[in-house]
Symmetry: C2
Subunit: 420 residues, 2 copies
Amino acid sequence: MKAEIIAVGSELLTPDHIDTNSLFITQKLNELGFEVHLKTVVGDNQDAIAGVLHSALGRSHLIIFSGGLGPTEDDRTRAAVAGALRRRIRVEPAILEALRRKFASRGYPMPQINERQAEVIEGAEVLDNSVGTAPGMWLEQNGVYIVLLPGPPREMRAIFETQVLPRARRLGKGRRLVTQSFHVTGMTESEVDSRVAPIYATFPSVRTTILATPAHIALRLYQWVEEGGEPSDLQELSARIQEELGDAIFTATGESLEEVVGQLLRRSGQTLAVAESCTSGIIGMRVTRVPGSSDYFLGGVLCYSNALKRLFCGIPADLLAKHGAVSAEVAEALARGVRERVGSSIGLSVTGIAGPGGGSQEKPVGLVYVGLSDRGRTIHLRRIVPGDRDTMRERTAYFALSRLRKFLLEQPAVRPTSGK
Amino acid sequence: MKAEIIAVGSELLTPDHIDTNSLFITQKLNELGFEVHLKTVVGDNQDAIAGVLHSALGRSHLIIFSGGLGPTEDDRTRAAVAGALRRRIRVEPAILEALRRKFASRGYPMPQINERQAEVIEGAEVLDNSVGTAPGMWLEQNGVYIVLLPGPPREMRAIFETQVLPRARRLGKGRRLVTQSFHVTGMTESEVDSRVAPIYATFPSVRTTILATPAHIALRLYQWVEEGGEPSDLQELSARIQEELGDAIFTATGESLEEVVGQLLRRSGQTLAVAESCTSGIIGMRVTRVPGSSDYFLGGVLCYSNALKRLFCGIPADLLAKHGAVSAEVAEALARGVRERVGSSIGLSVTGIAGPGGGSQEKPVGLVYVGLSDRGRTIHLRRIVPGDRDTMRERTAYFALSRLRKFLLEQPAVRPTSGK
């Protein structure tokens, strides 16, 4: 079954706004067996909205509008859809009454302008809006279903979940899209692709996409399954991909890298402290995005200046002078120093050149050293991280978290209990 | 002149991806005098792409495609557009040669599949791609202009800037959209609106939007100006808004709050150190996004645990025991402590309860204290910051930066030289 989404609102045609409602709607429709084959954004213009609906009626089984149901003159969706379907609009007294009650409960009278939100297109089922004032509508015309939803995401979602979902499920006929994601770290996008392409190419019923984010490589599998069927190709492909990529997959259930690192620390009863120079807080911020992270994250140091590297991590001035702040020696000394000062089980450090200035032939912009230290060993990793200042720092933070995960997996105490 | 944008790519119809190319294209087109009145996202399907183009030809003067120009079977834009316009496709030997050279310069032979990227629609001007392999195209059909651009943002932008812009400028006929942005801090969206709505309502020729981001409230003015005209209404409205909001506007030229704070520190020759508990790195990360920030940012402490508050900021154990880590007293002691230990001019601290757990009736989730300290005084600010864990932490970091700006503006040494 083919669905399409039409977002209405002139603000969605400016450089500052984007339609994100369609992402939520697409996910829900996919789960119900609908393929979203087209999306349109159109302004608050009655003819334009009607024109898009005309095209849509000829190509889709389900058409979902969001936006344009407010009380102002700008809100044209009701009138445009009624016009395109050649239906009348009437004011529904029960809705009017409910609107008045809603306003009264907030302690003020309903502005007259809101009466327009009681207008219903002939033949439409009204979709009650429990969190706002604009009700939605559900219509059918020659076997095509048309749904009108308000634009504010909270209202759109509430009406979708409670009222569109059960109706659309009956149309979807049990077909559904099953997905599986693998998040991979420590490999490039093309390395991942070259390893898994020979495998997924033999499963044509499963669509496979690879997406590189600063945090990880996301490998996603999709299979449409008919009613009563099982996604057996997807399951077999998943198993073979897991076998091929092994430990490089840090989650098959959607956790972030910082959550996975937190689980490893928690399970092994260890604590972490960080010394961040070039990332200056990104790692600390990521690690503490996880609720409860104070159980294993003690804190750390933003050792952005050499003075702070000395003061808080005990780096000797002559080490800095001899090797420079961005060096293997300083990275190791920072990791060991912050661990010892703070008294954590693990110390993690980052020092690097984020640019755009500060690079040299010997130490170019993008050069990064990550240091890792526990009671048994202290190591460093060197890498040239590409990208502009923001991108480089973001990637560096994830590189550090990825290597911290590897460091933890290699610990004799962690490996046997954590499995992969 | 009406323009529309068609983004091609099945991945843009999944719940995980969104078309963002159209934001860049919209901004550029607006500046050239085009109104973007419709946007469509369509999958890698030749009939669907051709169908959308058919509708577009009847309603727009300029049609911009992005995506679908790659070398694989999935890339259907060339064939779809040629089919819809009833034109032939030919392989252009000069492009083929240039492609081969590009691959050779990277050290490997061109895969045969890439030959498709040398295909040109009859009558099209080729738009050279300096940063990738897929060239763009510029076509005209019965007075409507059609532009084909590759999907990767870097390639799309490069071709747009160098090749589409000069051609589109000739079509735009001098009409242009002039915009002015004001970024406001320290006020809520509705406070801003209630102050400026009575003013902008008297300038109907200027469109005014207010957008709340975690970082600031963005007030944006737009005015269409005919060739040779001046945006005098926009200029007058701007002046009146600046008069009304005064210091609450931290920039009228697009700088971020962290850039503005950096300028104030640099101009007054001061340095900053931070002690971040609940934000745990967000402030340090923001401040150091600015290149050259090492001139005034010395670093700081992620004092996530009480142990680190004592160790690195010298907070007495009995102060923590008496008032709790989230208190006015500890916020002030952290700001003073980090300033004195690090030897910076200014100390900034944050302590708060990000949730979802850890709140109490007396100290609810969202409670935040910001501390600020210089040689002359140490102060604190209390606030309840709404939102989930991520949102609350992000807002708290911007609240702290906003108050740091105010603190700097209030310093006798800064005020006279910095103006507003």
